[in-house]
Symmetry: C2
Subunit: 313 residues, 2 copies
């Protein structure tokens, strides 16, 4: 039997785990609940128990394990120190140092969005590329920057926090982060709905979106775009304007080969690119205009793949 | 005798060269003219001759040389391929592959601004840091992004081209790159003068800057700021607004520990930071606000230091 590696993705309600061979073939995939009681002090212990149990059940010794990679929802620096994870009840904690003695093998940790980006580079939409910017358009906007095959963690673990890049100086509502005009306020699922509600309130223009009332979702907007609803198209253009402009700024720093777009909003599919790419091409520095746009491919598994890759290096 | 390394910084009129020990102590420093005739085809040959001659004159054999690092004025990717250098007459050229057989030792190449950033990280204003953004405020605005001690070259060698980040959507004049509203249009030496001339033309407000007429320089503006000239202070605030806002966007991607500010404009000294930092703090994501600002320390030698470091890894 060859060597194996574990990838762990810690979420607010469940922990996803994967056991991989060193080529990245998933051998086992399972979940355990995230126990956030007692300031989340059980989480790493539960992960260690689950990893050790799975390893033994599959007939592997600790020596067969290359390591355990972990993605966690908070800023994590290159040394594996997380600067608090509100959803888990954690304060500052060195994930790598805490988990290592419990599993008896090397541990590496990263921010969940960053780690998911690494997964997409390795086995998903960024396959074969070394310079990748992954963008997760979910409740918020997360980012993961990969340069020459390695993650940009950042000095305080805030590398790739592109959701909080200023893209609208006239904004008066605050982002969750406290700033105004962050990319996340327009390009997340919540942001798209917000743009739509604002536009609908602006005048009486006819739109199929009006029938949804307060229950309007991001998916409704993109469905209406696909059906040619003029007002929905306006919203899609606004979304694309902000995201394309923001990614052009990201490209001035990282100059990626490919942008991999994932998260709930990306379920709308390649129609997104019709709105993002013209804006990107308009604002991007000429040396960065060859960048391609791809949809993420690994969905919720990106985290466990990326966590495994974090260990494999 | 220990091993040595050469650092080479190719400019439009002169090539700067340095011979270093492996700890980065400069042993010899000299220049040769840049011969741009014949599409710049003599440049690498001249560099090789000069390096070989110096090595032999100092009693070193090729085996004593760890390698030759080169910084060149154009986009250079991680493999050492430069995508054209207008000032040198070069089209696409693999610097590393071309120079290597002429010197008989390993060669690495990078963009000159990026390589200078590496120099500042190693021996200058970013000493001791692994996550550094270097900003060169000269005729244009160049940048060099260092993540975990390594340069971000970018897929097309356009990593760190932060001078072409959009910071003013209302701009109608074009940047040299063809876009409008680039950071370079406000934060370079030329940009500061442009801001000043625009402001002076706006009304009849009194200012010591009026006496300079068309000959007004960036230095004149900062001298006037230091003397408390109200209009010059307004220009400094505008400069700081754009640069702080742009660097806040850079920080969302790279989350550096330190920004190292160099180039001609930085000769104004730490007074720059009084105008950059408030704007940076206003626009930066909270996880990035601990970044420090430092002046570059190596001046025109940053390139040869960084080129040497490129080889040492």
């Amino acid at each position: 039997m060859g060597k194996i590696v574990f990838g762990v993705d810690i979420g607010g309600t469940t922990v996803k785990l994967g056991m991989f061979d060193s080529q990245g073939t998933v051998l086992e995939k399972w979940e355990i609940p995230t126990v956030t009681e007692d300031h989340g002090s059980h989480i790493l212990k539960d992960i260690a128990d689950s990893v050790n149990e799975k390893r033994a059940a599959c007939g592997y010794a600790a020596e067969d394990v290359i390591g355990v990679g972990v993605g966690a929802p908070g800023p994590v620096d290159a040394a594996g120190l997380i600067y608090g994870a509100v959803n888990l009840g954690w304060g500052d904690l060195n994930i790598a140092e805490t988990l290592q003695p419990l599993v008896g093998v090397p541990v590496k940790a990263g921010n969940d969005a960053n780690v998911a980006a690494l997964g997409e580079m390795w086995k998903g939409g960024g396959r074969g590329c070394q310079d990748v910017v992954a963008v997760t358009l979910g409740t918020g906007v997360g980012g993961g920057i990969i340069v020459n095959g390695s993650l940009v963690a950042g000095f305080n673990g805030a590398g790739g926090e592109i959701g909080h890049m200023l893209v609208e100086e006239e904004e008066t509502e605050h982002c969750n982060c406290g700033l105004c005009g962050c990319l996340e306020q327009y390009a997340s699922a919540t942001g798209v709905v917000r743009l739509a509600k604002r536009r609908l309130a602006q005048d009486e223009a006819a739109s199929s979106l009006r029938s949804f009332g307060d229950a309007l979702t991001c998916k409704d907007v993109w469905d209406a775009v696909r059906e040619g609803d003029a007002l929905a198209v306006e919203i899609a253009q606004r979304f694309g304007y902000y995201l394309g402009k923001g990614l052009a700024a990201v490209a001035c720093v990282a100059n990626p080969e490919v942008f991999v777009i994932g998260g709930g909003v990306s379920k709308a599919g390649e129609i997104l690119f019709e709105y993002i790419e013209p804006s990107y091409q308009k604002y991007a520095f000429k040396g960065c205009r060859k960048a391609r746009f791809q949809l993420a491919e690994l969905g919720n598994d990106a985290g466990i793949y990326g966590a495994a890759k974090l260990v494999l290096g």
